[in-house]
């Protein structure tokens, strides 16, 4: 497995657990009627620290167990295709958030709509990259 593929796995795990975990906790808070943003900030900060820490440790391990950290044309093509196959999700999220703001939906919902679309977009990108690396492109 190349450094780039390991890097994709690291990103996938960090986002899936970090941001996914945050969204589960935030979902429970929302269902309990927490409608102000400040209580979510420390939970989100923990998620961000977790994502950064997993990425740092994961990339150190990936670099230590890989022969080279160079990116070649196949890595770039896989990255571009995965990006084009997933970026529309974040785009829809942004449009949805703007629409929600027009209809005066609460900021806590708008923020989480953006976070959910970011989460789904990133995880989709990573999954597409892994599929392209495994099955071919």
């Amino acid at each position: 497995m190349s450094f780039e593929e390991k890097s994709v796995w690291v990103e996938f795990v960090s986002y899936f657990i970090g941001l996914g975990g945050y969204l589960i906790v935030a979902g429970r808070m929302l269902s309990n009627g927490v409608s102000a943003l400040p209580p979510y900030v420390p939970v989100f900060a923990v998620a961000v620290v977790f994502i950064v820490a997993v990425n740092i440790v994961g990339h150190i391990v990936a670099a230590a167990t890989s022969r080279s950290d160079e990116v070649d044309e196949r890595d770039r093509l896989i990255g571009w295709r995965a990006e084009s196959g997933s970026s529309w999700i974040l785009g829809f999220g942004v449009i949805g958030a703007i629409t929600a703001l027009i209809f005066s939906v609460g900021s806590v919902w708008v923020a989480h709509l953006l976070l959910i679309s970011l989460f789904v977009s990133e995880v989709t990108k990573n999954v597409l990259q892994i599929v392209y690396y495994r099955r071919g492109i």
Binding site: M1, S2, E4, E5, R67, S68, E70, D72, E73, R74, D75, Y133, R135, G136, I137
Partner: protein, 79 residues
């Protein structure tokens, strides 16, 4: 518009064997790609750019068409 099924076959494995059992890593180093990319090209999972295809052919000292062959899988046509 229907996309015809095409594939690019290659003789990289045979050529590596003929060149003293050259490893995928040795070929990758000479071409300037990762070993995984050479493995993907050899296994038909990735069609390289023209530049990389020429570099591979250059390493083996063969013309491009001796290394890569275009095969049109559409019935009734020959590549």
């Amino acid at each position: 518009m229907a996309r015809s099924r095409v594939s690019i076959r290659n003789q990289i494995r045979i050529l590596r064997f003929r060149h003293g059992e050259m490893t995928q890593q040795q070929l990758a180093d000479q071409v300037g790609v990762t070993r995984q990319t050479v493995n993907a090209i050899e296994g038909g999972k990735y069609s390289p750019s023209l530049e990389v295809a020429f570099r591979i052919a250059h390493v083996f000292g063969e013309p491009l068409e001796e290394v890569f062959q275009f095969v049109d899988a559409e019935p009734g046509r020959r590549g």
